[in-house]
Assembly symmetry: D2
Homo-oligomer: 389 residues x 4
């Protein structure tokens, strides 16, 4: 870990004028240890930032937006890509080669194989070597790995639905004993319209989206489905690894990056088992910000909700942005407005023997820009919460 506490790091942003770019700017303005050097935007290139966001107070408002490719680069420490999919995959290398680290908001470095990119994103991944080296930065699961990153690094910032769903379900994967039918997981998601980004589409017009609610991309078609499965199976692996090494906390094991090795050497029995495949069913809510997941898991006969709740609330005791509510209390998206928190509530239905876990985040903040800054803070040795609310 290279501590840079006493000087500001220098930042560039590629795609600064989208909703997540705007949110990132808002956070970085308040961040005491960064300096924004460079902003690019394909669509608004040549304009002063203030022309696009007239509500900026900082001096940054006079920065002129440039094209990414005109950026010579060497003067910054970190570049955020807040661009659509299939851009960072091609452009990240340009910066890494100049010794500049990258945090990518898109899906370009989240999955594992070219097959998944072809199936879910419809493009061929042109940088599988980079993909192998990228770290998926779900802070609460990968904190130690993020802290240990060597520069220049590439972090794949998790998807918004994925973040909320996985934060709710990771403790389920780590729970000891055989208490759940892990193949029964059904996740209903719902997101405000900003989750769809700034593109012009009839279904995203005010007149269509207002006073409307609908499901979309159901039955496994949503791109966050493989990402949710990937993380939950990794958590299961960490949990199983723990059984093998019988020491410490499973979460620490996986966090430290040792899990895979342990599994590789000893956990053959588990490896051969089928992987978790969730049902993920997203919906569109007539509001701007906020994302909600409601997950159902079948429990097995001797499941005790009090025990599980005690374990669960303890699981996140050191994660300041994870707020586990009292048993039976449920969160609301409004609580997450412009902050980096994930609120989690749960209840148990003895009639159906199902556990229901609800989680909510601000899709633009913890689901994008907030989590990216949390990643940056850890990777550059700042306090994890710096600049975040």
């Amino acid at each position: 870990m290279n501590s840079v506490h006493n000087k500001k790091i220098k930042i560039g942003i590629i795609g600064a004028t989208g909703y997540t770019g705007q949110e990132l700017l808002g956070i970085l303005f308040r961040h005491p240890s960064v300096e924004i050097i460079f902003l690019s935007s394909e669509s608004n290139s040549g304009q002063i930032l203030n022309q696009i966001f007239p509500n900026l107070n900082s001096n940054i408002k006079f920065i002129t937006l440039q094209e990414a490719k005109k950026f010579s680069g060497n003067e910054v420490d970190l570049v955020f890509f807040t661009t659509p999919n299939n851009i960072a995959v091609n452009e990240a290398k340009y910066f890494l080669d100049k010794n500049i680290s990258v945090i990518d908001f898109s899906a370009d470095f989240r999955l594992k194989t070219n097959e998944e990119y072809l199936k879910y994103y419809g493009f061929e991944h042109k940088n599988l070597e980079l993909l192998k080296n990228a770290l998926y930065g779900l802070v609460e699961l990968h904190r130690d790995k993020i802290k240990a990153l060597k520069k220049p690094f590439i972090i794949a910032n998790p998807g918004c639905y994925t973040t909320a769903a996985n934060l709710a379900l990771i403790p389920v994967c780590f729970y000891e004993g055989d208490k759940f039918n892990l193949n029964s997981i059904i996740i209903n998601g719902a997101s405000g319209v900003s989750g769809a980004g700034k593109k012009l589409e009839a279904s995203l017009s005010f007149n269509e989206a207002n006073e409307n609610f609908k499901a979309y991309n159901i039955a496994g078609k949503h791109r966050h489905t493989p990402e949710i499965n990937m993380v939950l199976n990794e958590a299961i692996a960490g949990s199983k690894a723990k059984d093998v090494i019988a020491s410490g906390e499973a979460k620490d094991v996986i966090a430290s990056g040792e899990a895979k090795d342990v599994i590789a050497s000893g956990e053959a029995a588990w490896q051969s088992k089928p992987r978790i495949k969730v049902s993920f069913t997203p919906h569109l809510i007539p509001m701007y910000r906020g994302l909600y997941t409601t997950s159902h898991i079948d429990t097995k006969n001797d499941f005790n909700i009090q025990d599980f709740y005690s374990y669960y609330s303890h699981f996140y005791k050191n994660d300041q942005f994870i707020k586990v509510l009292e048993l039976g209390s449920l969160p609301e998206t409004k609580w997450t407005n412009k902050n980096n928190n994930c609120f989690i509530g749960m209840d148990y239905d003895p009639e159906t023997k199902r556990l229901i876990i609800c989680s909510t985040i601000d899709n633009l903040n913890k689901g994008a820009a907030g989590q990216a800054v949390q990643n940056m803070n850890l990777a550059f040795g700042f306090a994890e919460e710096m600049g975040l609310v």
Copy 2:
């Protein structure tokens, strides 16, 4: 069936100033075969209707709201109760004794036992005799029974979530062969705020409900849970009865009221089996009207979605208000605005072998006032769609 095609029936409404009462008034104004004689409202007694709903065009706007108990009664054919729970249970008898039929919007005559009222509604049911005689009026399932009602009758108008969820799932219950794990049914519901009625509560204020989304009454706590289960189990009974009697369509059997007898006499094997217990998980949407359900059911290995879809769209071929979309298309709440339709869409996930069915209605119309008028039309021999859009 007493046909009264050539004269108007006379109507009274108890509780006319709530949201469902207002919706009912709007529909009845357009209905060519009814005449509104009497309106009551506890909270607005003594006021002219026009003072409360300044946007009425009809002459009815000059009717003075009365207290229900001041209504002598004999001059009307039908009374609608659009009151909160635990009112019609006590007041319906007053009208039935005067030979006036009753359609009740509340839950007072929907369930079967005093135990359920104590558990889910917190009151002791004081008229179990009436309860036994009341008909649960889900038109698409009970059409023939409704047509066959003798006056004075009492119809329990189904709950809003129940209507949408059961219309989506009844065909599943009637499907031949053992293709579903019926105890895997998970229903996510979401409703606009008008579903909560006109009461003053902080959580229903604009400032709290706007730009907010949250789950509530989850884990079996919502009152529509036993009502959903009741109807689905009745559908299963009808389906099983069909196997026994081996003639006609199962839906017709149950619709004609013969199902129970058949079951009683011959279906002991099925009776001993465990009943369907769904997970029902409702959410509040920041909009006024509209209700959505997303149901997940585990299928068994030889399930074929094309076959099922053919069967399903055929199932509702004679139900003009049920719109089954093309396979893979999904409905939106906006389509239901102020109409009596239920739109249903479905998709199948081969990875998880789950069927997902989405249904949507206007909670105030098909989920309350529209369905009540549909019931009235059938019970009085009018065309089923009269006055409805």
Copy 3:
């Protein structure tokens, strides 16, 4: 007036898939005396109507959308243009030549001179002859003229803001005595987003328009400004004409079409005076439907609000869709949802000696499709309210 009470008239709609076209379809479905024969849509040509509006119940849903120019035409009595500006101006003649009447929702036949079209709409008006023959159909002002139309006619359906503003202010123009400073009129308008139509624009996306309020096209730039001025000056002319002819009610005079002649022959003194020029300042409201105007007029010293209010409420006594509220009561846009009413409320400030009049309509209904059907009903001899709520 050719009465066609006992048979249905045949209708075509050009541009049927926009928001006002959709609203018109909804009204015409309920109308007992029309039959829809032909629908056209440039953007959706070749599709079945049901594919675009899946929530239609009527048999009309199977009509195939055609291109307007492929329509042979002779079989219909009336064509509605629900198209953007600068289309009907070129295409209306095609229908008129076939003896088909036209009601145009756009501005193409509302104003008087080519100069106004160039200045406010940016196009040269190619059919000034038709323009001269078109009747501006603000029903409450021009009822008798509409009834007296000879077929084939062309009616210019008024603009949405214009309708609400002018209905509020016409009685001011007709008020006897010199009680107002007519050049002090300031109209603040506010409209839901559907007023902008179905076009794709960033400012009309949910993410931009939601939770947002702003003025636009202020300082005389909005296209409804000259239209408001035109009607108010016509009302003044009618009022002055009344002074000249000293008989009957001024409104009847102008309604009957005699006003201009009277003025032409006798009212030279008034003609030389400056015309009313209002300030019209529109705003965008984060909601779908509904339009509101708040008008301020300076009164002169001996103005008496009680006298004026008595006169005002009497003025509209025969206009069933105009609802004048009690003095001091103010209307709300919600009351107008999907109906053809205009609600008007007023109050007087003795400190500033200003009269404030608020009016509200549903921009898609009374502000477009409802008013068009009201025009159709009058021109074809149906009851004015037929099919309208």
Copy 4:
């Protein structure tokens, strides 16, 4: 000015759980130079703050809410009253007597006379002595007076509509020459629902306020009318004083508190003239935050908009939270979300010779909590923008 840059000031908040109290807490959490010692709430007394606002991150969330009268007090430097009207008027003295300064969010110390309180607020003002000593803290007009306050002070934080309207119009009052008809000012206001506070009222329920827009308290009835007039007349006085003393900038004169003396000694001619009386017409917008004013002023013949705009944008050159847009550009409420800015845009209509000025603020931030912190910063010698965005 007592500078306390190097230590934190200690804060208490009376009425901490309303919407403005919550906004204030959010700002103070980010403020580097304050420490929150004490929170009171009548309605939530005895609860931990975290139970009411589950989304707090700071340690403050464990503070227990107390009743204000149980607060011994001496340990804090400043108390904010974020209470309804007619509370601080009675309770402020308790704190002032303990040498604790007060910033009051209510109207209790804004107006000048008991008569105004009786007329507009319906209560007798019980502390006219305090009223005389209170400073009305519209920062951009009174900056130097605020900086010069001696402790313990009492600042009346301006009303939300007043702030937006007056910031738009003060430069008009200071403009040289006789270019405006100052008695022609008409201000249309529009506010999100949070402006009405947290009270439970049917008209503020989601079901009534959503998709609705309406005027309210028009014709001089709104309580902010006398407050707007008070400030504009004070600005006129400052402007006239400048003519008398013929030195410096008018705004500086009034800011320094000298204006009144100057006027008292020399400006008899102006004093006898009629005061400005605006028409203020507020409306309710279906959204949570944000407030907009659109003001119309008649100009006189030789008014030049370019000259005026140059003057106007220069007027606020040192006010970092006032953003004057380019001539012809108009602001949007969305820009103000959770920040302390006031955006102002204007345009001129040569046809009507009217100037239209639009201004927008976040009613909870610049219109309440943000402005209060701005006042605190100045009165305690902090940088004006500390803790604000």
